[in-house]
């Protein structure tokens, strides 16, 4: 069932570090490798550097320290359009200053494949339709983005990224604003794109159980360093999670299969 091992990793990061202007370290000599075609989920407490790592991979932030390679080639050596054909990025939220429709936003994903004026051909429109259908926003095609709910906008953002036809998709908490049905639908979709098209998915998430059920590999970040890297069954270890998150947790096995299941523990259940 697992995709065949690819020779070149999708993303290699070696000794990357990043600090804010005030000198506070967000990432500290971090080294990871994301194998091609795998589902890679980054978890960790607030401020542990998850989004920064994602933005460095997408070259939305300038690398201060270390090296990042995308499919074996230094990220700095990509041209803007070539990088955009390799990587799509789904941010936590998208501004809606101007009243673009869903279809218009989704079709913008074709930009790195088109000329300067972004004039789409029939094939591009077909790709856009398919992307909207996959993300479950086809029925919203003519609606204005600024009149949609947060969850609907998030799915539009995912449709746009699919329309971009990247080799790697980076998503920053894509399920945070979604209802349970759409959470599962988005995760299933990413899993399917990985299986069928060899898409590499790197996702930042706060949902440890989604990470447990979908990830091939989990990266647990704590204060900019690796606190765990490997399959969910190894990383989602109760003692390790409790140390990193600084709260009591309960981890057992999911009745659905061989994944760990993480429970939050309400304060009233703790011994005084």
């Amino acid at each position: 069932m697992a995709p065949p091992p690819a020779t070149t990793p999708a993303i290699t990061a070696e000794g990357i570090g990043h600090a804010y202007a005030d000198g506070r370290k967000v990432l500290d000599r971090l080294s990871i490798e994301v194998p091609a075609g795998r589902f890679f989920i980054i978890i960790g407490p607030n401020g542990s550097g998850k989004t920064t790592l994602l933005k460095l991979m997408a070259r939305l932030l300038t690398l201060q320290e270390g090296r990042i390679a995308i499919m074996g080639r230094a990220v700095s050596r990509y041209g803007a359009r070539r990088l955009a054909r390799a990587i799509a990025y789904v941010p936590q939220s998208v501004p809606t200053t101007f009243a673009f429709t869903v279809a218009q936003v989704v079709m913008m994903g074709r930009a790195p494949h088109l000329g300067m004026l972004g004039i789409e051909g029939a094939a591009d429109l077909e790709i856009g339709r398919e992307a909207m259908a996959m993300a479950g926003v086809a029925h919203l095609a003519d609606r204005r983005l600024d009149r949609l709910s947060g969850g609907e906008r998030q799915r539009v953002s995912i449709a746009r990224a699919i329309c971009q036809q990247p080799r790697i998709m980076l998503l920053d908490e894509p399920t945070a604003t979604l209802d349970p049905a759409h959470q599962v639908r988005v995760m299933d979709l990413m899993e399917r794109l990985g299986r069928e098209q060899g898409l590499t998915v790197v996702m930042v998430s706060h949902d440890l159980n989604l990470a447990a059920m979908y990830a091939d590999q989990v990266l647990l970040l704590n204060q900019g360093r690796t606190a765990g890297l490997g399959p969910p069954s190894e990383v989602l270890d109760c003692a390790r999670l409790e140390t990193v998150y600084g709260c009591p947790l309960l981890v057992d096995q999911s009745p659905l299969g061989n994944y760990p299941r993480v429970h939050l523990v309400p304060g009233r259940h703790l011994k005084p």
């Binding site: 939305l60 955009a84 200053t97 279809a103 994903g109 972004g118 004039i119 856009g128 086809a138």
Partner: protein
């Protein structure tokens, strides 16, 4: 299923057709309006070089035509300038006049006038330098993230504008001779000394700018989703932003150096067109050029014909229409 994006070509053609017709109509009104009168036949005869009435022919060629063309170029430039600023700052209330960029150009131009420089290139270069300087200050004050907030950006613009106003007053108080009258009239937005050679020089400056901006219109669409999004879709955000800002201040300062301070056109026209045509900049860029030109030609007709004697500066007309609309828009954005 994807109607709004699948037909860019026909959609653009339809918009161009309607707005070109509007511009031709506006130009006709502009050529026909005036105390000496003028009918359709007369204007056509005059423009094709077979006049019956030599006096009216001269009026049309030497007074009305340059003026109509200058107004059209001014309106096109200022509307497009507003559109570009709104896209880059992701703020529908941004406009060169409101943000003080026109004011900076005016300071440069007034210094040029006081130094007795030639209109082209002397005053224009000074105006360009002035607009770039205010743009620099604007970016420094409302840097990066806070730039997205309407209030901080507009407040910076208001302050820069106030400062420019003070400098302009200071410069005026230093002028004593005939230049004083020139400066004051020019400041209010004055088209009365239009000549065909002025028009040609301005057209030669702004036309390449229009082309460059249209070439970046799709990048402006992507920028509307935020600079991270634009970058992740292959836009070289810094290069596009710098190019658009410089090209825009270049053409706006050229227009300001010929026509003085005319405000709010860059707000009114892009806003109305966006309401009707949607936010796609590939349509809005040509639409703003044609729509802004038509609007300004008609404003100038009002400026020439409303008062029984003499004329009102065209900047007064555009501000009287634009400022109330600005307040209305500001109120509406607050409510959302």
């Amino acid at each position: 299923m994807i109607p709004t994006v699948s037909r860019l070509g026909p959609r653009l053609a339809a918009v161009l057709l309607v707005l070109t017709a509007a511009l031709i109509l506006a130009c006709y009104v502009g050529l026909a309006a005036g105390p000496a009168g003028g009918g359709f036949r007369m204007i056509v005869q005059s423009l094709t070089g077979h006049p019956e009435n030599q006096l009216l022919h001269d009026i049309i060629w030497h007074l009305r035509l340059p003026r109509v063309l200058l107004a059209a170029l001014l309106g096109a430039t200022l509307s497009l300038g507003g559109l570009v600023f709104q896209a880059l700052l992701r703020n529908p209330l941004a406009e060169p006049y409101i943000l003080g960029v026109s004011g900076g150009a005016a300071i440069g131009a007034i210094i040029g006038i006081l130094l007795g420089l030639a209109h082209f290139p002397g005053i224009w270069v000074m105006a360009f330098a002035g607009s770039l300087a205010t743009l620099g200050v604007l970016f420094f004050v409302a840097a990066d993230r806070s730039m997205l907030r309407a209030e901080s950006l507009l407040l910076s613009g208001v302050m820069i504008n106030a400062f420019c106003g003070a400098v302009i007053m200071f410069l005026i108080s230093m002028a004593h001779d005939s230049r004083l009258h020139n400066i004051i009239f020019w400041l209010m937005g004055d088209l009365s000394n239009a000549t065909l050679s002025n028009v040609a020089a301005l057209a030669a400056t702004v036309a390449p700018c229009f082309v460059l901006i249209f070439a970046r219109s799709h990048a402006m669409n992507l920028l509307a989703l935020g600079s991270d999004m634009a970058r992740s879709m292959g836009v070289d955000v810094r290069a596009v932003t710098v190019l658009l800002l410089i090209v825009t201040s270049l053409m706006v300062s050229a227009a300001v150096s010929y026509c003085g301070l005319v405000g709010f056109v860059g707000l009114v026209i892009p806003h109305l067109l966006r309401l009707v045509l949607g936010p796609d900049h590939r349509v809005l860029v040509p639409a703003c050029i044609l729509g802004g030109a038509s609007f300004m030609v008609l404003c100038d007709v009002l400026a020439r014909t409303l008062p029984p004697q003499g004329e009102i500066p065209v900047g007064v007309i555009s501000a009287m229409i634009g400022a109330p609309l600005f307040i209305y828009l500001l109120r509406r954005t607050r409510k959302v």
